[in-house]
């Protein structure tokens, strides 16, 4: 008389369809996705918008926006085209953001996974090192690393990665600590699965979703760090960078505020897009949460 427990529910659509459906539900996240796509597009077509060096003189200095159609957003005090700097700046921001995030996540996963899986003295040691890194104010450490390594864009990216790995490491560690005693891990262990397979094939895939969501935060942070460095004149002088544009615009703030306002808005929108994207990913990956 009771429903037979063995009857299956109707099959669910594939995972990516479910993922997109849940992501779509958050309208702010859709906006984030659109903004993010725009930034990528800017970076991609920078070469088409302006095939020359964005740092060359393109017109009379301090031309206001919307006056000359060939320089739609005007020029700065050195006569450089703000629009093409903006597009090339998107490249630098994205490049630094993505690579620095990958570096920090990679370090974070390795340290966090080892620490959380094995525990004991290994965990103690790694956590003291993490704490030491966390204790030094990250921007001060970044300045120091840049002072030592120099201002080349590769080194800056590397340094940003180095100062941002502690948070993901702690997260991965916490995930591993809660997952390593989960019954499915015990079950796999009981089948004779080796430690490395347990770490990488059983636990890591389950620990990843929150890390992926957090990657959007690191990416936003990395972009903010890079632009702050460039603003202070410590960025790579050979590339157009939004932070650098704002820093240079500071000198003409009274007369030509658009020189710093335009790239500033670009940074705000880019960072905003990452936050919204992150929230959308969170909703899509943790369907347990309501609303």
């Amino acid at each position: 008389m009771t429903v037979l427990d063995t009857d299956l529910r109707p099959a669910e659509p594939p995972r990516y369809v479910m993922f997109w459906r849940r992501y779509r539900r958050n309208r702010a996240a859709l906006l984030g996705l659109i903004l993010f796509t725009l930034v990528i597009l800017m970076a991609a077509i920078a070469g088409i918008v302006d095939s020359g060096d964005p740092l060359r003189r393109a017109g009379p200095p301090l031309t206001a926006p919307f006056i000359d159609a060939s320089i739609p957003l005007g020029t700065d005090q050195l006569g450089r085209n703000i629009l093409s700097q903006l597009f090339y700046g998107a490249r630098i921001s994205l490049l630094v953001g993505v690579v620095a995030t990958l570096i920090s996540i990679l370090i974070g996963i390795v340290i966090g996974a080892i620490s959380g899986y094995f525990g004991g003295w290994v965990d103690d040691l790694l956590m003291r090192i993490t704490e030491a890194f966390q204790t030094i104010p990250n921007f001060v450490l970044l300045l120091t690393l840049v002072a030592i390594l120099g201002s080349k864009i590769e080194w800056i990216t590397f340094a940003i990665g180095i100062v941002s790995w502690t948070a993901p490491a702690r997260m991965v560690r916490a995930e591993f600590m809660s997952l390593r005693n989960r019954e499915f891990v015990d079950a796999a262990r009981n089948l004779g699965v080796s430690n490395s397979a347990l770490i990488f094939k059983e636990i890591l895939p389950n620990a990843l979703p929150p890390i992926i969501v957090y990657a959007s935060v690191i990416m936003a942070m990395a972009i903010l760090l890079e632009s702050a460095l460039a603003f202070l004149g410590l960025g790579d002088p050979n590339y157009a960078s939004w932070g650098n544009m704002i820093g240079q615009g500071r000198a003409v703030l009274r007369t030509a505020w658009y020189c710093s306002a335009i790239p500033g808005i670009a940074i705000v929108l880019t960072v905003l897009s990452f936050s919204l994207l992150g929230e959308g990913l969170n909703d899509a990956m943790n369907p347990r949460q309501k609303q």
Partner: protein, 329 residues
């Protein structure tokens, strides 16, 4: 261990004990960084003097102990650090410790105002948004939080300067006090406060958004818990629920964040102090990088770490007091 020592003191001692390896790691780290930096103290001195002959340089190296094996150097460096001897700043021609202590007050003042502002406003707004979750008010507050979060402090600083100093002329553009003012007493306080308005706002907004978001999710989460339902079933009203049951529990994660954010906030002060020409540690850090004054830079790292460890220690003590589940016995 029953010597009638209050448990909180034992706990405090143990926490201090745990901080020692972290400090040692940081000391070793700064030493290695110093070694990585191109050029040592002698190079800097010689460069300052406009060159010298090889024999003199060698003698100087011996004098500074730079001809010793690396571990001897490390040992000496640590021994000096332990007595807060951070060496000479060749830019300021003073002991680094003196230079740092000179700047410490301004930075601490900026930290204290920013963090308390960010903390209190963030918590109130976050709790407010959570109680009206998914309403218009909540959307407004949350959007504001997102925008604060996305706005770099230097950009915000410039825009504030443009509006309040350049256009409106209400606030001074920089410095900690009016140079030729020679204010005393209450006037001095007001003067400093006026100089600190914009730096504080610029520095605190991003952290305000952190607290706002944390508090919002924390309150929503606690409000969903069984004991809140119990209190409701006892006939408690909404205000009572909020004050005694929800906030009391939802505040705990915010307190933890307080300690964690302090380090990031110190880092953020570099940019803000530089923009507003505030004579604090952050500005000093920037100048040291520009002038390649590595000794001072290392000193800043060391001092900042000590401050961060102290603040974390105090937050932990506070947390232990606040969370009655923690037993200090």
């Amino acid at each position: 261990m029953n010597l009638n020592i209050p448990p909180i003191a034992i706990y405090a001692l143990r926490r201090l004990f745990q901080a020692i390896p972290v400090i040692i790691l940081i000391m070793i780290g700064t030493f290695l960084l110093l070694k990585l930096a191109p050029g040592d103290t002698v190079d800097a001195l010689v460069g300052d003097m406009g060159g010298a002959d090889a024999a003199f340089i060698a003698r100087l190296r011996a004098e500074y102990g730079l001809d010793q094996p690396i571990w001897v150097q490390l040992w000496r460096y640590m021994a000096k650090l332990a007595t807060f001897d951070l060496g000479q700043s060749f830019v300021y021609e003073q002991p680094v410790t003196t230079v740092l202590l000179d700047r410490l007050g301004t930075t601490l003042l900026l930290m204290a105002t920013s963090l308390s502002l960010a903390f209190s406003i963030g918590i109130v707004l976050g709790a407010f948004a959570a109680r009206r979750a998914y309403s218009l008010t909540d959307n407004l507050i949350s959007t504001l939080g997102l925008i604060f979060y996305a706005t770099p402090s230097f950009f915000l600083s410039l825009m504030m300067m443009l509006l309040f100093s350049v256009k409106l002329g209400w606030l001074p553009v920089g410095g900690i006090k009016t140079i030729a003012g020679f204010y005393t007493g209450w006037d001095h306080v007001v003067d400093v406060a006026r100089h600190l308005v914009m730096p504080t706002a610029a520095l605190s907004l991003i952290y305000l958004s952190f607290y706002l978001r944390l508090m919002r999710s924390s309150v929503i989460q606690v409000a969903d818990q069984d004991f809140v339902r119990t209190a409701r079933a006892k006939g408690a009203g909404e205000t009572r629920l909020m004050v005694h049951h929800i906030m009391r529990n939802a505040l705990l994660p915010a307190v933890t964040l307080f300690g964690l954010q302090f380090s990031a906030l110190l880092g953020g002060s570099v940019v803000v102090e530089t923009i507003f020409t505030l004579p604090g540690l952050g500005q000093l850090a920037y100048q040291s990088v520009i002038q390649r004054d590595m000794n001072t830079l290392m000193g800043i790292i060391f001092l900042c770490s000590i401050i961060v460890i102290l603040v974390n220690f105090l937050t932990d003590l506070l947390y232990a007091r606040l969370d009655s589940r923690i037993e200090l016995t």
